[in-house]
């Protein structure tokens, strides 16, 4: 059968969310001839619609449905209803993302074994290894056109990178380059090359940056096996008397509810909405929510240890010109406990415009110190620090007392830093400031974490059904035709930006789902 599909067609695979995980899985399955209905809460926006204006773009693309926060993290105070920065649109957060595409390191898949048990942390080894993923990483890098892989040259360095590189050289860092980026440095796959617009976070108007919105999704649709329904907000996943998933209830843009029957359901709503949906789908048979016999749904929420360092110089940098994140120092990504913490972190160039700088440089601050920093905007360079944070069972997505626009409990996001996260952030601030001091910074601004862009771990993979929600293929331990296909599968966070791994897991999961369907196992 080819698309479009009937609501009562129970032969389709339903995918919830069309971001990095869902969008990739949808195309991979469609390429194999499997019928797919992808339900996306947001609308369809393509490069001509993207806006080179930070707040206007945020209003166009961001997920601003009700969410609440708790815990001691500063985001809960400064952005109480905006715990995370996630896109609600076809393509999901791959419209906003910067494109940094790094493989998780071998030892990071064995976090518990390598780091040993850390007090207060729910560390585990992944049930899969780098070796298992290598062939799929290769496919993902080729699909996404990652620079410095597949013979694709690196991007040219912009001003912000040049400042970082000069500082890195002075400090003796050995590994500083313009990154592995899913941004075309030369035309590839029918898409043009980067014109250095400087609005990567607002959706790339050139289409030079990989996003499922205009790569995976139209490719899948071309096969005739993929139907994407936009403005289709999933409310509940339903099951039959045997406990197998039977369909998915969603609201269309007019608020009318429909039940899409299915053979398999894959949840890919990002690490806040995915567990919320499983919890909101509780039934008499599954009173604690779907796939939750372990009690781990929503737990172990990770957001990476993050922070930024902006630095002011005597002369102009104009960091906002060109690729937002096109420079990296990888020397600190090793696991070396002599620094006072386990795991490692990456240092990556980052630039935000004046509107976001005002909101994020030091939320709540006012007076001359703050405005003097803003006055030096033109002379600023900036970097983002991103490292492995410790999973903790108490960091969790749970159902809030507040309701969303459909009357369903919203997600509450609870987070406290682990002492290891704090030690790592302090080290990273110190090193980041040293990079800029080495090239003559007149002021440095250690900037607190933004609302979370990397949301991970809330439906984690585990070898043992008692320890996690899904197995090494993202399949629910409890319900064989229910899959998790986004970053919530991550067992631990690793130091690297997660999206390449999310895409890699989705490609691998597609093979597994096809195999299982062929074998009539699901």
């Amino acid at each position: 059968m080819t698309a479009p599909y009937e609501h009562n067609d129970d032969s389709v695979v339903v995918i919830i969310g069309t971001g990095a995980g869902g969008g990739t899985l949808a195309n991979e399955l469609a390429q194999k001839g499997i019928s797919v209905v992808a339900l996306e809460a947001g609308g369809r926006h393509l490069p001509p619609d993207y806006i080179n204006d930070e707040w206007a773009s945020f209003g166009q693309l961001a997920w601003t449905d009700m969410r609440t926060t708790s815990g001691s993290w500063r985001v809960a105070k400064d952005f109480a209803n905006l715990p995370a920065w996630i896109v609600k649109a076809v393509g999901g957060s791959t419209t906003h993302w910067a494109g940094a595409s790094l493989r998780i390191q071998d030892h990071e898949f064995r976090a518990l074994t390598e780091y040993g048990s850390v007090e207060g942390a729910s560390l585990m080894d992944w049930p899969i290894t780098l070796k298992d993923l290598e062939p799929y990483y290769e496919k993902a890098e080729s699909k996404m056109g990652v620079t410095r892989t597949n013979g694709i040259p690196g991007l040219p360095g912009n001003n912000n990178f040049k400042v970082m590189k000069a500082g890195a050289d002075k400090l003796g860092y050995k590994n500083c380059h313009t990154g592995r980026m899913a941004i075309n440095s030369q035309p590839r796959d029918g898409r043009t090359s980067c014109q250095q617009l400087g609005f990567c976070f607002q959706g790339c108007k050139m289409g030079a940056k990989w996003s499922t919105a205009y790569t995976e999704i139209p490719k899948g649709e071309e096969t005739g096996n993929l139907e994407v329904r936009e403005n289709a907000h999933v409310l509940k996943i339903e099951h039959d008397d045997s406990g197998k998933i039977s369909g998915v209830l969603y609201a269309d843009k007019d608020g009318n509810q429909h039940l899409q029957k299915c053979r398999v359901a894959c949840v890919a709503g990002n690490s806040i909405e995915s567990p919320r949906l499983l919890l909101n789908s509780a039934s008499t048979m599954f009173p604690d929510g779907l796939a939750n016999s372990s009690g781990q749904v929503g737990k172990n929420y990770m957001r990476h240890m993050t922070g930024s360092v902006y630095a002011s110089f005597e002369k102009p940098v104009n960091m906002y010109r060109g690729t937002t994140m096109a420079g990296i120092i990888t020397d600190e990504s090793k696991h070396d406990t002599s620094r006072g913490f386990v795991g490692g972190y990456e240092m990556e160039t980052l630039s935000i415009g004046v509107p976001f700088m005002a909101a994020f440089l030091n939320p709540g601050a006012w007076g001359r110190e703050f405005s003097a920093a803003m006055d030096s905007y033109e002379n600023m360079a900036g970097m983002w620090l991103v490292g492995e944070d410790m999973p903790q069972e108490s960091n969790a997505i749970s159902l809030s007392d507040e309701k969303d626009q459909f009357g369903l409990p919203a997600a509450n996001v609870h987070f406290d830093d682990h002492p290891n996260d704090v030690a790592m952030r302090n080290h990273a601030y110190q090193q980041g400031m040293a990079v800029y001091d080495a090239v003559g910074a007149t002021q440095t601004h250690p900037t607190p974490p933004y609302p979370s862009t990397h949301n991970l771990g809330t439906n984690r993979m585990s070898a043992n059904a008692a320890d996690g929600v899904v197995n090494g293929f993202g399949q629910s331990h409890d319900i064989s035709n229910l899959f998790v296909s986004d970053g919530s599968q991550f067992t631990t966070g690793a130091a690297e930006n997660p999206t390449l791994t999310i895409v890699t897991l989705a490609i691998r999961q597609a093979d597994y789902i096809a195999e299982q369907m062929n074998a009539d196992a699901i």
Binding site: L82, G157, Q196, R321, W366
Partner: protein, 200 residues
């Protein structure tokens, strides 16, 4: 131009209002210097307050107020500058950034009394300190000391929170801070200096 108000969820009571929503509340306009001097009263801050407007004393701009007392609006403009002081920004940019509160006050009596009450409180503290009013307090440090005493109150947080977007989301502010903004229509920065740094 879109006219709806867009709010971004942040810790209450702070809410961001974007540029487009500020625009609908009437542009700043010009009076002649003569009109000004016959209709208004010069405040210590260089602002002129008339019966339903405030203006710059060089007549560079003027703003009609609907709900708030003109004196209150003058206090807000000064307060905006004291919260985010940029000495190369004219008052018009600060006036633009706070004028939305007048429109909100016109529709919301509770909001109106919070703003009027806050402004009166600032004046009362200034008088206690031996000055004529908040605006009539000569040194920035003395005004900032007054603001510090009410920093945690909803009035202050509303004004400060509104400024984050109200002040810094103005293209003229971007210019003054050296941020060039939208680049797509100019072909990006590929041929416009993305790698032109020459002092390293």
């Amino acid at each position: 131009m879109k006219t709806e108000t867009r709010t971004v969820p942040v810790a209450s009571p702070v809410s961001f209002t974007d540029r487009s929503s500020a625009d609908k509340r009437g542009e700043l306009y010009k009076l002649t210097r003569r009109q000004l001097l016959t209709r208004g009263l010069v405040l210590g801050s260089g602002l002129v307050v008339g019966s339903s407007f405030i203006a710059a004393d060089n007549a560079a701009w003027a703003m009609e107020v609907k709900a708030l007392a003109p004196q209150t609006m003058a206090t807000l403009v000064q307060m905006a500058r004291d919260i985010y002081p940029h000495d190369n920004f004219g008052d018009a940019l600060y006036a633009n950034a706070v004028k939305g509160h007048d429109a909100t006050a016109a529709d919301d009596a509770e909001f109106l009394s919070m703003i009027e009450g806050g402004a009166k409180q600032l004046d009362a503290i200034a008088v206690e300190n031996g000055n004529s009013s908040y605006v009539g307090t000569g040194w920035e440090a003395d005004r900032v000391a007054i603001l510090k005493t009410i920093e945690s109150e909803p009035f202050f947080q509303t004004i400060r929170g509104g400024l984050v977007v109200g002040l810094y989301n103005q293209p003229e502010v971007w210019n003054l801070l050296g941020y060039e903004g939208s680049s797509y229509e100019k072909g990006g920065y590929l041929a416009r200096g993305f790698d032109d740094i020459n002092w390293l």
